[in-house]
């Protein structure tokens, strides 16, 4: 038996899924998800045979963890509450007897419902194709590791970007700046910053599941999982706090 509060939360979740699956956004996400397939298919169908470390660096790190994952998450999660603000429809939710944390949970859940499977499938499929094409062993394990790690990374990014959509009137610009400057540059080149990088948590989980990937350049498994969980929870709480304190337009 579903209780009253859960029914209201479900209504917000269904509404959010409907908002997030507009035709334009779905096509954009699908297009982005297909991008990693291009090099993977090239490696499968041509004589170009990259090494395992090339695949780690180019496909998993540079393409999937550094670009496709955060950009898809950004495109979806910032709109979960950001569009409600922009369209001045957020009051439809906050003027209902639904606890703020339930609104955030529904928005976050809807974002994750869209982002996680798309990203995980895109990553796993492209890795499977690429490793097979390159004639490397362990392609199934690598694909599973990347799929799971990207799913975790997608959850963390979803939490971060749902908050950003509520916090800023320019979430896409700030998000892109964050992805390319913080995640792309600082976390790679500034000592210690890797502990504050979602990309690093993602690669750490890949390494935890498939020990032959990223053997000595990422943070440890425990740190990756624990910090990812902390960051996810922190931004979810910050979103609830913001929603409770802000003036709703």
């Amino acid at each position: 038996m579903v209780d009253r509060a859960s029914r209201s939360t479900l209504a917000v979740y269904v509404l959010s899924l409907r908002q997030l699956t507009g035709k334009g956004r779905v096509l954009t996400i699908a297009g982005l998800a297909l991008v990693p397939m291009i090099p993977a298919l090239v490696w499968l169908l041509t004589s170009a045979k990259p090494s395992a470390s090339d695949l780690d660096d180019v496909l998993i790190n540079a393409m999937l963890a550094s670009a496709i994952l955060p950009i898809v998450a950004l495109a979806v999660a910032t709109t979960a509450l950001g569009n409600e603000l922009e369209d001045k429809t957020l009051s439809n939710l906050t003027l209902a007897p639904v606890a703020r944390w339930r609104i955030v949970a529904a928005k976050l859940g809807a974002s994750a419902t869209l982002i996680v499977p798309v990203i995980a499938a895109s990553g796993a499929a492209s890795v499977l194709i690429a490793f097979t094409g390159a004639g490397l062993g362990g392609s199934a394990r690598a694909a599973a590791a990347v799929g799971v790690a990207l799913a975790v990374g997608a959850l963390v990014y979803a939490s971060l970007f749902v908050w950003l959509g509520l916090f800023s009137s320019r979430p896409l610009a700030i998000g892109l700046l964050y992805v390319f400057v913080w995640e792309g540059l600082f976390s790679s080149f500034v000592e210690g910053m890797k502990y504050l990088s979602v990309r690093q948590y993602t690669l750490g989980i890949v390494q935890a599941i498939d020990g032959s990937r990223f053997t000595d350049e990422v943070i440890g498994t425990t740190a990756a999982v624990v910090i990812a969980a902390v960051v996810f929870s922190l931004f979810a709480l910050l979103t609830v706090r913001r929603l409770m304190r802000m003036d709703v337009p």
Binding site: R4, A5, R7, S8, A11, V12, L15, R18, Q19, G22, D87, K88, T89, S91, N92, L93, T94, L95, A96, P97, V98, A99, R100, M244, R245, D247, V248, P249
Partner: protein, 306 residues
């Protein structure tokens, strides 16, 4: 201390940066229809937003049914709010929008409740069209249906008649009156006096973010009419004019400012205008400027009456 009023504002102020939107406003609202009247930018919407919990007061306390709406989401089972924005979820049909409002408020049989609410605003024929295809008036009505779908005890409506045609206005008045007769508390804002006069039994007059007057509409108007006004007169012989004005019935007091302006206090503006012109002509005094000093309330009211 908790108030027994449905809505109570106690020394409430709201500011945005350096801009004061509402300043030290206190009042209580009981069941029946209360009109929030004032010109555009007076602070009506800000007050309604604080009442409905959408905005926090910078200072003071707002309670609805004795509780803070900002921290008590459960209150919204008893409150219906129709905000100033026309926008809804335009990708939905009217029926879907109202049904979702019912689901969010955990109404039993949301589908049936939506039908009843849509019928109430006479929009059943267009219920299955997308909201984006609705006219402005239809959007207002579907939002009204969404507000009524859970049969709230308190209704807060910001400029609800925007976009409504005369027939819809009459329907709307009739609907609100029947809800008020059934014991609901209704707060309606407008910058148009006729709207408030037709709907509300009690008026709160908001001017420049302050509560300028409250009570029965006719009592407010009488109070404004009886109120003495200061008038500043610039002329070529201020002392002669002041001496001549002192003896007039329409004049309560006269003083000559250091800058040479004559300041007259009068409770009868009509008589003052006539007699001042006559006195000036008799004394051969040339008037170059006559201006009310404390015209804020008057000008607002004149604006509202116009």
């Amino acid at each position: 201390m908790k108030s027994s009023a449905v809505i109570a504002l106690s020394s409430v102020s709201k500011w945005y940066g350096n801009v004061v939107a509402v300043s030290d406003v206190s009042f209580e609202i009981q069941p029946g229809i209360t009109g929030l009247l004032g010109p555009n930018g007076a602070g009506k919407t800000t007050i309604l937003r604080m009442m409905s919990g959408l905005a926090a007061a910078s200072e003071g306390q707002v309670t609805v049914f004795g509780q803070n709406p900002r921290t008590t989401p459960e209150l919204y089972r008893r409150i219906g709010v129709m905000s100033e924005h026309e926008t809804g979820y335009e990708f939905m049909t009217g029926r879907q929008f109202v049904r979702m409002a019912a689901q969010l408020r955990d109404v039993e049989s949301p589908h049936q409740a939506a039908v009843v609410a849509i019928e109430l605003v006479d929009l059943l024929d267009a219920a299955d069209r997308r909201i984006r295809s609705y006219s402005r008036g239809m959007k207002q009505r579907i939002r009204l249906a969404a507000m009524l779908v859970h049969d709230p005890d308190l209704l807060i409506l910001d400029e609800p008649l925007n976009g409504a045609d005369p027939r819809q206005r009459l329907q709307f008045q009739s609907l609100l009156r029947s809800l008020a007769d059934a014991g609901r508390t209704i707060v309606v804002s407008s910058h148009i006096l006729e709207e408030i006069e037709m709907l509300a039994t009690r008026v709160l007059l908001i001017v420049n973010g302050k509560l300028a007057a409250e009570g029965d509409y006719h009592a407010i108007r009488a109070a404004l009419d009886d109120r003495p006004y200061h008038v500043r007169v610039i002329c070529d012989a201020p002392r002669a004019l002041a001496a001549a004005l002192v003896g007039l019935d329409a004049v309560d007091s006269v003083q000559v400012d250091p800058d040479g302006a004559v300041v007259v206090l009068s409770s009868n503006m009509g008589a003052l205008q006539t007699s001042m012109a006559r006195v000036a002509k008799d004394r051969s005094v040339r008037l170059t400027r006559v201006e009310p000093l404390d015209d804020t309330l008057e000008s607002v009211f004149e604006y509202l009456v116009a």
